[in-house]
């Protein structure tokens, strides 16, 4: 009895205390915020002569930013001492939200190219408007970054971030066991029909000799829209141009044909029966253990695959399938583009001007080259316009260089960057094939790569992609027929597809003019 009375008393006391606590803490926060902004303005005035220590927040990296060789190089060249902190690898954006909303005094924050996150912060008023700062202190910034990229950064006409534009390239295609082709006396397929024929031969004649007659082709269950093959149906990227308008894959007429082609492969037993539950690792496992002969693979995964494959089958050979041509000669491999990193200055920064000066100093031509690829003769060699890395020093001291780049020289960096791809000759061969040997007209750019943040589009994009994938898997395994397509498109449009298309096309029309 007594206990219960105490408990009620405690409960009500706790409630009152927590209410009072919330109220007062909000007040102190506002006071603090007001105080810090006042501090900030006075701070920058008094410190204009000396260089303060900058505090930066970066993406997770397997090495400590502060002790990696480049930290010293950057400090020597810019004259700024920098304290680097990292976001966690998992749920980085949640943590960033916490830090931004508690106004931690970071001077520079660099995140992945997630325009939506950046735009949210800019709209919330959490970021410093960089437009006047770049005009005043950003000579190198203006020389390095194209107006086109800045245009994509604009939120309500103001620039709040400095982008690292990604090199545009084809990232993956279908990898095929060429020793299997040779064994059966087949040629590398160049059209969709030839590709189907090769798969049939792989299944029937079992060149891998594993006797189980399993399907020769496997894909990742989360990526039921298969690279390269989609190109033969005109849907190489998730938005494609039809009659001067951008059309999303499921609305595109090629999507239905693609699905019926894949469903047919599945029915004939040419596509892995278990593909829907495949993860990236299972896919690689099946390919390197010789159970399947064709998988979609990114060129940066080639070294690991090649190691395992040659250990298991010393005679194994592999190559990328060229862009497969569909009925009317249509073909294509989608390219990625857009932005690798975005760098911005939060309002809580104590030294926004110094932060811009620091970013500007890093984009000085010589300094930028030194950070990006190092010294000639020590980290790289230069011959005939090609930068080749000197291993292993290049990997040891410049392997993580992209972490230190806040803004890039958009003309020179793509050339420098190829030194990175030459780390491994097998990887380089794959990269070269996809990006030099496949004719340019078959390498399809992502039309949305340089779009500014489109709120409707980014709101629905993830859920719509999930929807498309789920539907594609269902059709391929025969659970739904392609006749369900019309109903699906309706559902897709209602779930935000139509709103996205409207917004995307409004933007597209505005840049095409």
């Amino acid at each position: 009895m007594i206990n219960r009375k105490w408990l009620t008393l405690m409960l009500s006391a706790g409630l009152v205390a927590s209410l009072a606590g919330c109220g007062s803490s909000r007040n102190t926060n506002e006071e603090r915020a007001a105080g810090s902004s006042a501090e900030q303005t006075t701070g920058t005035q008094t410190e204009s002569g000396s260089k303060p220590e900058l505090k930066t927040l970066n993406l997770w990296s397997k090495d400590d930013y502060n002790t990696y060789t480049l930290a010293k190089v950057v400090e020597e060249k810019t004259g700024y001492k920098v304290k680097y902190e990292m976001l966690p690898a998992d749920k980085a954006m949640d943590k960033l939200n916490l830090l931004i909303s508690s106004a931690e005094p970071y001077d520079v924050i660099t995140i992945n190219g997630e325009k939506a996150v950046y735009t949210d912060y800019a709209k919330m008023g959490a970021l410093v408007d960089l437009t006047p700062l770049i005009d005043k202190y950003g000579e190198n910034i203006k020389a390095s970054i194209s107006p086109e990229s800045f245009e994509a950064m604009k939120v309500d006409g103001k620039i709040y971030a400095i982008p690292n534009r990604a090199s545009e390239f084809a990232g993956s295609s279908l990898m095929i066991r060429t020793d299997w082709l040779d064994k059966l006396g087949l040629k590398m397929p160049t059209t969709l029909d030839e590709f189907t024929a090769v798969l049939k031969a792989f299944k029937e004649k079992d060149p891998g000799g594993n006797g189980d007659k399993g399907a020769p082709l496997s894909i990742d269950g989360a990526m039921a829209t298969m690279v390269n093959v989609t190109g033969a149906f005109g849907i190489a990227t998730s938005w494609n141009i039809v009659d001067g308008k951008l059309v999303a894959a499921p609305v595109h007429p090629g999507f239905k044909e693609y699905l019926s082609y894949m469903a047919d492969l599945y029915k004939q037993g040419l596509l892995d029966k278990e593909f829907a539950v495949n993860k990236d690792a299972t896919l690689k496992e099946k390919f390197t253990s010789g159970r399947v002969g064709v998988i979609p693979l990114a060129w940066y995964d080639i070294p690991g695959i090649a190691d395992a494959l040659t250990k298991n089958f010393p005679d194994a050979k592999y190559a990328y399938v060229p862009a497969l041509k569909g009925k009317d000669g249509q073909a294509g491999i989608g390219m990625s583009g857009g932005f690798d990193r975005l760098t911005f200055i939060p309002k809580s920064s104590k030294h926004p001007e110094d932060a811009i000066k620091w970013i500007n100093a890093k984009l000085d031509k010589e300094t930028f080259k030194l950070i990006a690829i190092g010294e000639e003769g020590k980290h790289f060699t230069y011959k005939d316009g090609v930068y080749s890395p000197i291993l292993p020093l290049f990997t040891d001291e410049r392997g993580l260089a992209s972490n230190y780049l806040t803004g890039i020289d958009e003309k020179l960096y793509p050339v420098y960057w190829q030194a990175r791809v030459q780390k491994d000759p097998r990887l380089f061969a794959g990269f070269t094939f996809l990006n030099k040997e496949i004719p340019a007209e078959f390498r399809i750019s992502d039309p949305l790569a340089l779009a500014p943040s489109l709120p409707e589009y980014s709101k629905y994009n993830a859920s719509l992609n999930q929807m498309i994938n789920d539907f594609a898997v269902k059709v391929i395994v025969g659970e739904e027929s392609t006749d369900a397509m019309a109903a699906f498109v309706e559902k897709y449009n209602a779930a935000g597809g139509e709103a996205s298309a409207k917004e995307v096309n409004e933007w597209y029309a505005s840049v095409k003019k």
Binding site: L7, S18, K62, E85, N112, K286, S289, Y300, G304, D307
Partner: protein, 291 residues
Amino acid sequence: MTKRTKGDLLLDTGVYLFLIALGLMMLLPLASVFSKSVSEEWAITSGKVGILPVGFQLDTLMQVISSSLFIRAFCISVGVTAIGTLISILMTALTAYPLSKRKLPGISFIMVLFIFTMLFSGGLIPNYLLMRQLHLINNLWVLILPGMISVFNMLVIKSYYESLPEALEESARIDGAKTYTILFRIILPLSMPVIATIALFYAVGYWNDYFGPMIYINETALKTLQLYLQDVVMDANSANLTNKSVDDLMNMSPEGIRAATVVASTVPILLVYPFMQKYFIKGVLIGSVKG
């Protein structure tokens, strides 16, 4: 001794088989991670590594153990665990002692205060704000001070104290011992089984603490081992791959490294168990019966 019937035998066999199966179910994933950490990368990629390692090598483990981030995180975790356990066990034992005396004035009120904290807490955001006001963000004490005394553990020790015969204290008092002498020379030595058990609880808790450091520690130099481990493992999680740039993808750690990191951060705390085993079972039993 009664004779075992066939039914008993059957039941025993069934129980043993079930327990062995259950044990294996828990052991096998661990064994698989362990063998991945000592296998060669090509074997992992092609899915050849199951329970036994393929192409035994220790380079991956050595590479993980010699990484400066790992060493620093490891030292921090060891430090927090050692100091935290020491402080926690001392404070818990000291708190439990007066509360084990039924004659203590206002004891029911004080007990309600303690029990209250078991049931209710301020929630994450108020806690974060509080820690910030206390300047405990990016301070390792934040991992120790707020959770210094676990009320549950305190109750276990308290009930153990209560189970000790009162005559012991009376006789000590007659011999002229004061309260602290009684506590440190008589009560605590007698309570070693439960103290050791609770110490193990605390140690494992501090070692495995992931949530606290994730929320309160931003500075790279102060990251604990569990944070480091989470980073290494989750870096390859598909949800975190979508926005990665190619450079980041090229720099990703292979699966062998991830497995080795798991092993290197789990084994140390596993080594503590055998030393505590004999206290462990006894202590929990006594606490639970009297609790």
